[in-house]
């Protein structure tokens, strides 16, 4: 108490009109992002998610490098029945390929697709949503009808169609990224638009306008950064969706095809070994679950950290 006493007397200058508040000052010193980081790190689930995500990304980068072409190289020497070893912790598949390295290669594929698909989603969504929200009126109305139309299309079918129909001419990974990207941006667009509608009337945007800032400058410098918080949350959660969608496509035989490695096509292959190698469907499946869990833990943690109102309830 003595310390807050001294803070108060220290701050009391001739211009100080505030009634003495004891505890508010200390908190206000921190910036918004410091606060967000602190809240995020205090959330146990979020931190677990972050560590898990870091571990998965690390695995996806390092093991495929360590393993060289082990994920791809078939072998007549190695068999599914070989005992597991340091070289092949998960054994070999029916073509004598190293399952562990195949799995990490598949994880790499998944994460690359997840990352770039979400990048496209965010870029399209943010651009679309900011124009719509900033323009308002008729433009906004028409643009939102476009969102309604895209939302009304059966998402997975659309992606499946795109991947199947244009898959032949573009590398499969790129097709999947594009297909997920151009069908999945509506949520981001709606979030950004909602923020823009709110921000458009806010004091600081009005002030920027009064000072004669151009529209594009106001959008890019002032409004987009403020609207990014919900988009960041949606993007993190979106990675999980994209990874699962890729796996489903590949599982159905339309995405990444053998011999390229994907968590989805490893599952398809494992189906033929239900009896003899029952564990094979668990490796890619559990990896998938870990990716989804990591992304959703981090996403939920970000949402709680970014929105102090929700934190109060917990």
């Amino acid at each position: 108490m003595a310390s807050s006493e001294s803070i108060r007397s220290g701050a009391a200058g001739p211009t100080s009109t505030s009634t003495d508040t004891d505890e508010v000052d200390l908190v206000a010193v921190q910036t918004y992002w410091q606060l967000v980081r602190r809240r995020f790190l205090r959330n146990r689930t979020a931190v677990i998610g972050l560590v898990l995500l870091a571990f998965l990304v690390f695995s996806a980068i390092v093991f495929p490098m360590v393993g060289g072409d082990a994920w791809y190289r078939t072998s007549l020497v190695h068999h599914p029945t070989d005992p597991v070893s340091i070289d092949a912790p998960l054994g070999y598949d029916n073509l004598g390929r190293n399952i562990f390295f195949r799995l990490t290669k598949g994880l790499q594929t998944s994460l690359i697709i997840g990352f770039f698909a979400v990048l496209i989603i965010t870029l399209i969504g943010t651009t679309f949503g900011s124009i719509s929200g900033y323009a308002g009126g008729l433009v906004d109305n028409v643009m939102m009808r476009v969102v309604d139309i895209v939302l009304s299309l059966p998402g997975f079918f659309l992606i499946l169609m795109l991947v199947a129909f244009i898959g032949g001419i573009v590398p499969p990974m790129m097709v999947i990224i594009i297909a997920i990207g151009i069908t999945g941006w509506t949520t981001a667009a709606r979030l950004v638009r909602a923020e823009f509608l709110r921000l458009r009337e806010s004091d600081f945007v009005q002030a920027a306008k009064a000072l004669g800032a151009s529209d594009s400058r106001i959008i890019i410098r002032h409004m987009v950064p403020s609207a990014m918080a919900p988009v960041l949350v949606a993007a993190t959660l979106g990675i999980a969706d994209a990874v699962v969608t890729e796996a489903a496509l590949s599982f159905l035989g339309y995405g990444i095809r053998d011999p390229d490695a994907s968590l989805g096509n490893m599952l398809t292959a494992a189906q033929d070994y239900f009896y003899r190698q029952p564990l094979w469907i668990y490796y890619p499946g559990i990896t998938l679950i870990l990716v989804v869990l990591a992304a959703s833990f981090v996403g939920d943690g970000l949402r709680d950290a970014l929105d102090p109102r929700q934190k109060l309830e917990a």
Binding site: M1, T19, D20, T21, D22, E23
Partner: protein, 354 residues
């Protein structure tokens, strides 16, 4: 019972009630040693700033405190039995029957998906042996009693079809439908327009006359208290700081906090540049100062205030939690009792309430 000693039997006697909340940031002692007394058929005004623990006291009496809150100690004697020792199902028979409560927010206190008539009838049939039809008729009758025009039609309407003042009337109708001995009204007019406020207060007065019930009126508005109350208890930071009959509190307030509250009421005719406002804010409940909780905001603060003052008898039927002499002057040096003495004094004085 020792606690019912006094000029008149009490209908409700709260002694040394403590209700604490275990929050993530620490223990909040929302109610910390509150003693109150309500006489049958009389109105006790409980006054204080928001966050002083008035509502928590009321909810404690109703035993409606929810996690992370907990009634830690004290006793609440109603009609000769300690409510805190009753099993939950017996308490449920008292709740809404012998003690009813109305809340600050009429807009949100009624269930949006059921009709007003349904919600009143539910209270009636919960505590009586009426048929559904009789309960529904009683609901309409109650709506008429609280001055709702076209009561029959209104009974069939949903809360969103009514204005705030009307909804508070419905709440009052619901509370009074079981003829309670005690009505706890938690800021019943705060959320309403000024003209509606007056109407609701008039209504409560009229119904008090008719039903002969006691009222515990919780408010931050001393004007409302003046109009309604026989007795007044002033609360600050989870404790009662002053308690007496209404006239005494208004004419000869003892506690500096009460004086501050009274000075901050705008008065007709009094030409002042600005209202006297109590400086500062209520202390952070997680970080209460030692000694007197009001000392940092108190114009009379003196060294002795570093010791917590007990609730002391300053005049017949008038107690105050302040070190100032009974006449309001500075106490003589050395008059301060030790902490243990203060504790003892506080205990004896809580039962010497008006």
């Amino acid at each position: 019972m020792a606690t019912t000693r006094g000029a008149q039997e009490a209908l409700l006697e709260v002694v040394d009630l403590r209700t604490h909340f275990a929050t993530a940031d620490g223990l909040v002692r929302a109610v910390d040693g509150v003693s109150l007394r309500i006489r049958p058929g009389k109105t006790l005004g409980v006054v204080g700033e928001s966050g002083c623990g008035k509502s928590i006291t009321a909810l404690s009496i109703m035993r409606l405190i929810e996690r992370p809150g907990r009634i830690v100690s004290g006793s609440i004697t109603f009609d000769g039995q300690d409510l805190l020792r009753l099993p939950e199902d017996e308490m449920r028979n008292i709740r809404g029957n012998e003690i009813s409560m109305i809340f600050q927010e009429p807009m949100t206190s009624l269930n949006p998906v059921y009709t007003c008539g349904d919600q009143i009838a539910e209270a009636v049939s919960r505590h009586g042996s009426l048929t559904q039809r009789e309960a529904a008729a009683r609901a309409v009758e109650m709506l008429e009693q609280v001055g709702i025009p076209d009561a029959k039609r209104r009974a069939g309407e949903h809360p969103h079809q009514l204005s705030g003042g009307m909804r508070q009337r419905v709440m009052i109708a619901m509370a009074l439908s079981t003829n309670p001995q005690l009505l706890i009204a938690d800021e019943p007019t705060t959320a309403l327009d000024v003209t509606i406020q007056a109407q609701i207060l008039e209504l409560m007065k009229a119904l008090r006359e008719r039903n002969g019930m006691a009222i515990m009126l919780i408010t931050h508005d001393l004007g409302v208290v003046a109009e309604m109350s026989d007795d007044v208890s002033v609360m600050y930071a989870g404790k009662v700081v002053e308690s007496s009959d209404a006239i005494t509190v208004y004419d000869r307030p003892h506690h500096p906090y009460t004086k501050g509250l009274l000075a901050s009421i705008p008065r007709m005719g009094a030409r002042r540049e600005r209202l006297d406002v109590i400086k500062g804010v209520v202390p952070n409940p997680l970080n209460l100062p030692s000694g007197c909780l009001f000392k940092r905001r108190c114009p009379y603060a003196m060294p002795i205030c570093d010791n917590a003052p007990p609730l002391r008898l300053v005049a017949e039927g008038h107690v105050s939690r302040c070190w100032l002499a009974p006449d309001g002057g500075r106490p003589e040096l050395g008059e301060a009792p030790s902490a243990a003495e203060a504790e003892a004094a506080a205990l004896t004085l809580t039962v010497a309430n008006p």
